[in-house]
């Protein structure tokens, strides 16, 4: 529950009520206290104390959590109609709804305040992503914390991965941080050298075990073209096996360059061949780490090149992803026949019939491909590649072998200052140095003993947490403002998802991180390459993209949905955000735009003209495309569906949370079960069914505020395809026509998606405010509260000056007073 907004809301609420109060003499207190007095206290008060509950004595200080579970129960009981009991005076539905809304708002406000509460020393644990970036920026080490057995998943709070109060710790986290630190150190300072190696495999080697025998067959037919490998949808084939390099262990993990010469076969009217390379997840699929469309024609193969981080040893496979896989016709026997080393030879589409007269055919009589396939000539892998810049980050971390204790201490101090992102006193390292000495006395070499000391630095709370308010940096008093060093970290984790770089450190050290100095740094950060981490991380978290594909679409209902489409969908809003930020476009574009950023797969899906290349690129949209802005993207429409049907309520809640930063109250417990409607009757839309269920006045009052925000998108199905009629698989009659009209909370009507978007645009102030709040939650790593309101107003005023252009909004947040406060 997003306490902050409701907090703000209820304050406005109070403000409005206060005005009314003057006019009518009613008081804000009366809604809540009046209700309690009239309906509750007679039984749960000094007289009766039923159920051991004295509502009159419950704490009204919602900021302290002591009684909030009682209050939550009060909501539940009233909401469910259980209280007041039937034989007591009954409140009207409206009184009940107002009471519940107000109490809920107070609880949320209290919770937000607690979440926002900052102790004298605040510890914000790094998210997995931040840990990954930080070890890279610190030591030039690539480490994948999402690999099984590595760091635990972060707990999400409304999609955000980095909310301090949510990032808790168990013993297993400690174990894993320890292991991670060991891996990082092994990789930065490998015990055995791991020089880059390069291997090349031709199609003959990959597919035909060298192909000598097959070559003979070709000669018999007088075929001069070389053997090539056919990759087809429905069966994965090896792309990388670690033994190809010889002995390969974890020390060979790192950046690899992959090159492939290939061409693609595209069936008439079908999709271009899409190649996905990754760990095998089944007979047909891989978890792609390299994904691309192969558009080169059979007679003009091209060389494609990628760089990718590999945790060695690893097996990778090729998968061709297409809606129409080679199992729709002949099943496994068909696939086996084509995959058989001796049974199926491939050189060129024009020669397959000659070479494989009895095999299943992959081409029709005109030589057109029946399936999307990839023709592979050769591949190369080279790595691990370490750049000079990466090496530079490790240089000087270790003291020379003959270093005396003082030199060792100096080295360790220097490293700790970078790793902990702040000045470090020598005495803070006393313990570490004592352990170092003990190790040395026990006969360890300098390097080994020092390595253990570095390990201590990397498992310290100062490394895995962002520490704010530590007395080390100042006096042992509670500070309201960040020190310059703390601010530097906050800014760099905000905009770069990582530690500050040398320049930012230096500015902070000079005490120049204010006014012009600050602005200059922010401008540098916003144009630095690393801003892409902000774009990726913030857009993913803000838009809750982790939910894309969470409920996988039904294969029968949505046969065009495949892994590549899902990956493409997930990337679209991110690329769209990148374009908006880079071009500094106004916030309105999030709601409505006559362009988007898509790849070839999405063009095909949206029915847009096919682009020249497969990659993500900006394309313009026409009204008939029925797209524009975030809300009509496949990702958003899909993540608010359940794989089978679109879910108007989910869509309404998403829009409310993400675009307006308002979280509707949760549904009450004990609602009557929804009795299933057997589907033999007349076909009705999801909307109609919902309306049937929403007859309960208790439900209706909340749903009236949520559902219309979702109904507005009813013209898009569960994977985001446009439709005029809602497809109902079973039942009598025609598929019903979609009704995407509705009334906004507040009364403004709309007829369809476009009109709805226009209404949102009229509310751009609110949308901008919500966006600012999301940014601040992300930057400050906490829920916002009442106390932040003035500063938020100031940011909004600043952002408004530049017409709410997105980069300017981010800049306004970054230089704000709020961000300098704890």
């Amino acid at each position: 529950m997003k306490g902050f907004h409701s907090g703000i809301m209820s304050r406005y609420h109070f403000a409005i009520l206060a005005i009314i109060m003057v006019a009518t003499g009613a008081s804000a207190k009366e809604t809540l206290e009046g209700f309690l007095e009239t309906h509750c206290v007679s039984c749960h008060g000094p007289e009766k104390e039923k159920g051991d509950l004295r509502i009159d004595l419950l704490s009204r200080n919602f900021r302290m959590s002591e009684d909030s579970h009682f209050w939550a129960e009060v909501i539940e009981k009233v909401n469910s109609g259980e209280m007041p009991p039937e034989d007591e005076l009954q409140p009207t539905q409206e009184e009940m709804a107002n009471f519940v809304a107000e109490l809920d708002a107070k609880l949320k406000e209290g919770k937000a305040a607690r979440m926002a509460a900052r102790p004298a020393v605040a510890h914000y644990r790094l998210s997995r992503k931040e840990y990954q970036n930080t070890v890279y920026d610190l030591l030039g080490v690539r480490y994948d914390p999402t690999k099984p057995g590595q760091l635990n998943e972060d707990t999400l709070w409304h999609g955000f991965e980095r909310i301090g109060s949510e990032l808790s710790l168990s013993p297993s986290h400690i174990d894993r941080y320890y292991r991670a630190a060991e891996i990082v150190l092994d990789r930065a300072f490998p015990p055995e050298s791991s020089e880059a190696r390069k291997i090349r495999k031709t199609a003959s080697e990959l597919r035909y075990a060298g192909g000598e025998k097959q070559q003979e067959a070709l000669e018999r037919f007088g075929i001069e073209r070389p053997l090539r490998q056919l990759l087809f949808p429905g069966r994965v084939q090896p792309a990388l096996q670690p033994h190809w390099f010889g002995k390969t262990g974890p020390e060979h993990s790192g950046l690899y360059k992959f090159r492939i010469q290939a061409s693609g076969i595209r069936p008439p009217g079908g999709q271009p061949a899409h190649l996905s390379i990754g760990k095998k997840t089944g007979e047909e699929n891989v978890d792609g780490i390299i994904e691309f469309d192969i558009t080169a024609l059979e007679d003009h193969p091209e060389i494609y090149e990628f760089e990718v981080f590999l945790e060695m040893p690893i097996n990778l496979d090729f998968a061709v992803v297409a809606t129409d896989g080679v199992d729709r016709r002949g099943g496994a026997a068909f696939r086996n026949a084509i995959a058989s080393r001796n049974g199926y030879l491939f050189t060129h589409s024009s020669e397959t019939l000659l070479l494989n007269p009895n095999a299943p055919q992959m081409f029709d009589d005109k030589g057109n491909g029946i399936f999307s396939t990839v023709i592979l000539d050769w591949i190369e892998w080279e790595g691990p590649l370490v750049s000079e810049e990466e090496k530079a980050r490790r240089r000087g971390v270790f003291p020379p072998d003959d270093a005396n204790l003082e030199e060792v201490a100096e080295h360790l101090q220097r490293f700790a200052e970078r790793a902990w992102r702040r000045p470090v006193n020598r005495e803070e390292l006393d313990k570490y140095l004592a352990s170092y000495r003990a190790d040395r006395e026990a006969g360890e070499k300098t390097a080994d003993a020092y390595r253990a000391a570095v390990l201590r630095v990397l498992t310290s709370r100062h490394f895995i947490y962002l520490v704010e308010g530590d007395p080390v940096e100042g006096d042992a008093v509670v500070r309201e403002r960040l020190t310059d060093r703390e601010l530097a970290s906050r800014l760099s984790y905000f905009l770069w998802s990582s530690m500050p770089d040398d320049e930012l450190f230096a500015t902070a050290r000079k005490g120049a991180l204010s006014d012009d100095g600050l602005r200059k740094e922010i401008d540098r950060m916003l144009t630095d390459e690393r801003i892409n981490r902000f774009i990726d991380d913030f857009s993913r978290q803000w838009l809750q993209l982790h939910k894309v594909g969470m409920f996988p679409p039904d294969k029968k209902l949505y046969p065009t949905y495949d892994d590549w489409l899902e990956t493409s969908m997930r990337n679209e809003p991110v690329e769209f955000f990148r374009e908006i930020l880079t071009k500094n476009l106004p916030i309105d574009q999030f709601l409505e735009s006559d362009w988007t950023v898509v790849n070839a797969r999405l063009c095909d899906f949206y029915g847009l003209p096919e682009p020249k290349t497969g990659d993500f690129q900006r394309v313009s949209l026409q009204p008939e495309n029925k797209r524009g802005g975030l809300l009509t993207m496949g990702a958003v429409l899909g993540l608010t569906s359940d794989g089978t049907r679109h879910r108007p309520v989910h869509r309404g809640v998403w829009l409310s949370e993400v675009i307006l930063n308002k979280t509707p109250p949760p549904p009450p417990a004990n609602v009557d079960p929804i009795e299933p409607v057997p589907p033999e009757g007349d076909k009705v839309t999801v909307r109609k069914r919902l309306e049937l269920h929403a007859t309960d006045a208790n439900c209706a009052s909340c749903h009236a505020n949520i559902d219309p925000l979702g109904f507005a998108w009813d013209n898009y199905d569960a994977i985001g395809q446009w439709r005029e009629r809602e497809h109902i698989p079973k039942g009598k009659g025609e598929d019903p026509v979609v009704d995407a009209s509705g009334v906004m909370p507040g009364g403004r009507p709309f007829q369809n998606t476009n009109e709805f978007k226009q209404l949102l645009l009229e509310d751009r102030e609110k949308v901008a405010r919500a966006f600012i709040e999301h940014l601040c939650t992300y930057a400050l790593r906490r829920a916002l509260s009442f106390d932040d309101e003035e500063e938020l107003n100031a940011i909004q005023a600043e952002a408004e000056k530049s017409d709410y252009r997105v980069k300017d909004i981010i800049r306004a947040v970054a230089v704000s007073d709020l961000i300098k406060k704890r």
């Binding site: 529950m1 959590s65 909030s68 579970h69 939550a72 129960e73 539940e76 469910s80 609880l107 949320k108 919770k111 102790p119 004298a120 020393v121 605040a122 510890h123 099984p148 057995g149 808790s168 710790l169 168990s170 013993p171 297993s172 400690i174 174990d175 894993r176 320890y178 997840t281 089944g282 313990k431 570490y432 253990a452 390990l455 201590r456 310290s460 709370r461 100062h462 530590d470 007395p471 509670v478 409920f551 996988p552 039904d554 294969k555 359940d642 794989g643 089978t644 549904p667 009450p668 417990a669 004990n670 609602v671 079960p673 929804i674 009795e675 299933p676 409607v677 057997p678 589907p679 079973k730």
Partner: protein
């Protein structure tokens, strides 16, 4: 630090090899690891918890008759052969989960609350692990095929889960390649590093006063516990890892694609049996899949996700598939019980007698997220004093209950679904069952979660 060396003990493997005899050889006392030699280990107690997401198709699951001569329902049929060692239970619920939809999985083993200001509490398996940990190499195992585990710490932090069989196998049974001395060195280094990390926090405490140290409580307990585990691991170093037969290794040390759900389920069960058999741990939790993402089962023609089936909307096709899914999952659970019955522990006793296995869901009627009348089956543990053989029905004993409202055709009635959504017997807390299990495991407590009594069985 003083480390107990157990090097003088005879390595059981060597002894067996030397004697050239079979595994049923009685254990000589000197082979029993030191820590395993106290009296509570003479008959180890074990528990396994298995979670099925999204409830069941209750019309075909619900057992209607109570007591000893109950008749198995359609979905529970596969358990009929285990009648004497199981107790199907109806009518329990977690008060804290009512109305919380899919979050019910988070309190399934904790009996905690899910309100806006609540933090989860310790899960019963972890409570049990507190007493079993000192006897075994690993305190507990957490498996979840998708999404999070069922296990929660006392701080309300969810423990991470493993999902790949090969990963589970190697974490339990594979010796690190580096050898004992290198491992010992590494463990001692780790203990010393953690020690320094702890000292650092105490330094801060000294400066700031304990109440002001922010989120460090969790950090402190976590590091301390990690340190204890490290030292415990050190004492285990001299005890050889249990030897796993080639056949067992081959069957369990591999990855199975999720398209072969049955094979996947069974292999995880095999791993649990293996872990209990070799006594590497005595507590295991296994989520067949999270509420949002439980597998489909193509091998029996189910291509829809379980979540999707549970929101069947009254579609007879979906309801049939959901029933088939339930039956299938229960069949695999039955396989687990069979394996436990036929496998002997280190003392030569069938595992099933000393192992309590609880199978169930935090939901009953998935279509409208009914969190009452939870489908639960408790099995095994007869040696721990559990008397099975009856259908234990807490609805039936409640006042005002007049049947499950199932007519012979199994027609849909809202009355039946209300039983699954609102507790008929508000005192019948599932924590009472968890309390019973905790007590039988040797946890000395008279309450767990929101228990109000312990169930007697």
């Amino acid at each position: 630090m003083n480390y107990l060396s157990q090097r003088w003990r005879i390595d059981r493997r060597h002894a067996l090899r030397a004697m050239g005899t079979c595994i049923s050889l009685p254990m000589l006392e000197c082979m029993i690891p030191l820590r395993a030699a106290d009296k509570s280990t003479a008959s180890p107690r074990r528990s396994a918890f298995i979670y099925l997401a999204n409830g069941v198709h209750s019309l075909n699951y619900q057992i209607l008759s109570e007591g000893k001569d109950y008749e198995f329902s359609k979905s529970l049929k596969p358990l009929e052969k285990h009648r004497d060692v199981i107790t199907p239970i109806s009518g329990l619920h977690h008060p804290g989960a009512i109305g919380h939809h899919h979050n019910c999985i988070n309190v399934f083993l904790t009996g905690g609350k899910l309100g806006p200001s609540d933090r989860n509490t310790i899960s019963v398996d972890q409570k049990m692990a507190e007493v079993t940990a000192e006897h075994t190499r690993y305190s507990s195992m957490e498996i979840a095929l998708t999404q999070g585990s069922l296990a929660w710490t006392a701080d309300g932090v969810q423990l991470p889960a493993s999902r790949r069989c090969s990963e589970i196998f190697s974490s339990m049974f594979e010796e690190p390649k580096s050898g004992i001395e290198a491992q010992r060195k590494a463990l001692r280094r780790k203990a010393s590093v953690l020690d320094d990390n702890l000292a650092e926090v105490r330094q801060l405490e000294k400066k700031m006063g304990a109440e002001d140290k922010g989120r460090l409580d969790q950090y402190l307990t976590s590091v301390r516990e990690a340190e204890i585990r490290t030292r415990r691991a050190d004492t285990w170093l001299d005890t050889p890892l249990p030897e796993i037969s080639d056949a067992d290794r081959k069957r369990t040390n591999r990855d199975i694609p999720k398209t072969q759900a049955g094979e996947y389920f069974r292999t995880v069960y095999d791993l649990m049996v293996l872990a209990f058999q070799t006594d590497v741990t005595r507590v295991a939790t296994f989520s067949l899949g999270g509420e949002g993402d439980a597998f489909s089962i193509p091998e029996i023609g189910i291509t829809e996700s379980r979540h999707q089936l549970s929101h069947h909307g009254g579609d007879p096709g979906y309801m049939e598939k959901l029933t088939n899914y339930d039956t299938f999952a229960i069949e695999q659970f039955s396989y687990f019980l069979t394996r436990l019955a036929e496998t002997k522990d280190l003392n030569g006793q069938p595992l099933l007698g000393s192992t309590m296995a609880l199978f169930g869901s935090g939901m009953c009627y998935g279509h409208s997220h009914g969190n009452a009348n939870l489908p639960l089956v408790l099995a095994g543990g007869s040696d721990l004093g559990l008397n099975h053989g009856s259908h234990l029905d807490f609805n039936r004993s409640a006042t005002g209950f007049d049947g499950y409202a199932l007519d012979p055709e199994g027609a849909l009635t809202s009355k039946h679904y209300q039983i699954c959504g609102r507790p008929v017997n508000t005192d019948a807390h599932m924590s009472n069952l968890l309390l019973l299990m905790a007590q039988r495991m040797g946890v000395e407590t008279d309450s767990f979660g929101d228990s109000n009594t312990a169930i007697t069985l």
